[in-house]
């Protein structure tokens, strides 16, 4: 566990979260959310929670993002907020 590393990832996570919620293009938002998931997965690996990190990589960054993109494709891509 390296706390400097930790703080940097955390700050990036907050940024990613805010961007994901502010981007008006839903596809973009979904992708940024994928980045957020990867960051958090990194964080967990760094905290020693390898199993959780593994799962988050497979689920959060992988499947979640894919099904979100699938939904965005089959519905509307633009959002007003």
């Amino acid at each position: 566990m390296i706390w400097q590393f930790d703080i940097i990832i955390l700050i990036f996570m907050v940024l990613a979260a805010i961007i994901a919620l502010r981007v008006k293009d839903l596809l973009g938002a979904t992708l940024v959310f994928g980045i957020y998931s990867f960051l958090i997965c990194l964080l967990w690996a760094e905290m020693g929670a390898v199993d959780v990190a593994f799962t988050e990589a497979a689920v959060g960054a992988g499947v979640s993002t894919v099904i979100m993109i699938a939904t965005v494709f089959s519905t509307a891509r633009r959002s007003r907020d």
């Binding site: 199993d51 990190a53 799962t55 497979a58 689920v59 894919v66």
Partner: protein, 251 residues
């Protein structure tokens, strides 16, 4: 609404922050949670009780196996819930069955070829993750997601119909249910042999090794059960969500 939301968020946030002052410092090995009897037991006794080096797997599949069974059920519910909500069973019969060469009608050649090469590797690795969950990170859930992802990848590259021939809807549901049947059935087997539900030691007579090894082997069995369910449901979720429940043509 915005204002109301903002106020609610500020209040809850202040409440939560007020509590953090009371927590042990981050990373404090002496905190009650880390020092507590329960986690000490898991760390120190896992190897004696179950002969599994990966504590997370042991806790997941044995100490809190009951929880994990329901975790699998949650996935199962999500799968059939999505089908129940989204799926439109229409004129299935009128649709012409896809020919054998349907694999090749969609997608780019390079993508398809790469996919055909990569998918087996992914699946192999997924099986390794499932089987090796005792010793390294991973287990039924992670491996199952990867297996499911390999089918998703296949569907993305070669089209959903092609993937559907390998993992049709009916088959997916059967596999998913079979996964939980393996898990819960294993628990019931314990029950029939005289132990409590999911008490793997009671399976000792029918498994090789001693009581601890019975636990270890049983964990593998239930992990396989989890993997079954997760694989099938992940693909079912994707195939329904990407086609709005029509299961015709993917993305």
């Amino acid at each position: 609404m915005k204002l109301f939301g903002f106020i609610a968020v500020i209040i809850v946030g202040a409440l939560l922050l007020a509590a953090t002052g009371d927590f042990p410092a981050w990373g404090d090995a002496g905190s009650p949670a880390s020092q507590g009897q329960v986690s000490s037991f898991y760390i120190e006794q896992t190897i004696n009780e179950t002969k599994v080096p990966n504590m997370v797997t042991a806790v997941l599949a044995d100490f809190r196996g009951y929880d994990t069974m329901f975790e699998t059920v949650v996935i199962f519910i999500a799968g059939i819930g999505i089908i129940a909500v989204l799926r439109t069973f229409g004129d299935q019969a009128s649709k012409a069955p896809d020919g054998p060469e349907a694999d090749n009608d969609s997608g780019d050649l390079i993508v398809r070829t790469t996919c055909h090469m990569v998918v087996p590797l992914i699946q192999l690795f997924a099986l390794y993750v499932i089987a090796h969950g005792h010793h390294s990170p991973g287990g039924g859930f992670q491996g199952g997601v990867m297996l499911g992802a390999s089918y998703i990848l296949f569907a993305l590259a070669c089209g959903l119909p092609a993937a559907k021939r390998r993992m049709g809807e009916r088959r997916a549901i059967i596999i998913a249910a079979a996964g939980i049947i393996i898990y819960a059935g294993w628990g019931v087997a314990c029950l029939l042999l005289g132990g409590n539900f999911l008490d793997y030691t009671s399976l000792d007579p029918i498994l090789p090794g001693d009581e601890q090894m019975a636990r270890s082997h049983s964990m593998l069995v239930v992990e396989i059960g989890v993997a079954f369910t997760v694989t099938a449901i992940m693909f079912a979720i994707y195939s329904n969500l990407s086609t709005r429940g029509r299961l015709e043509k993917g993305l």
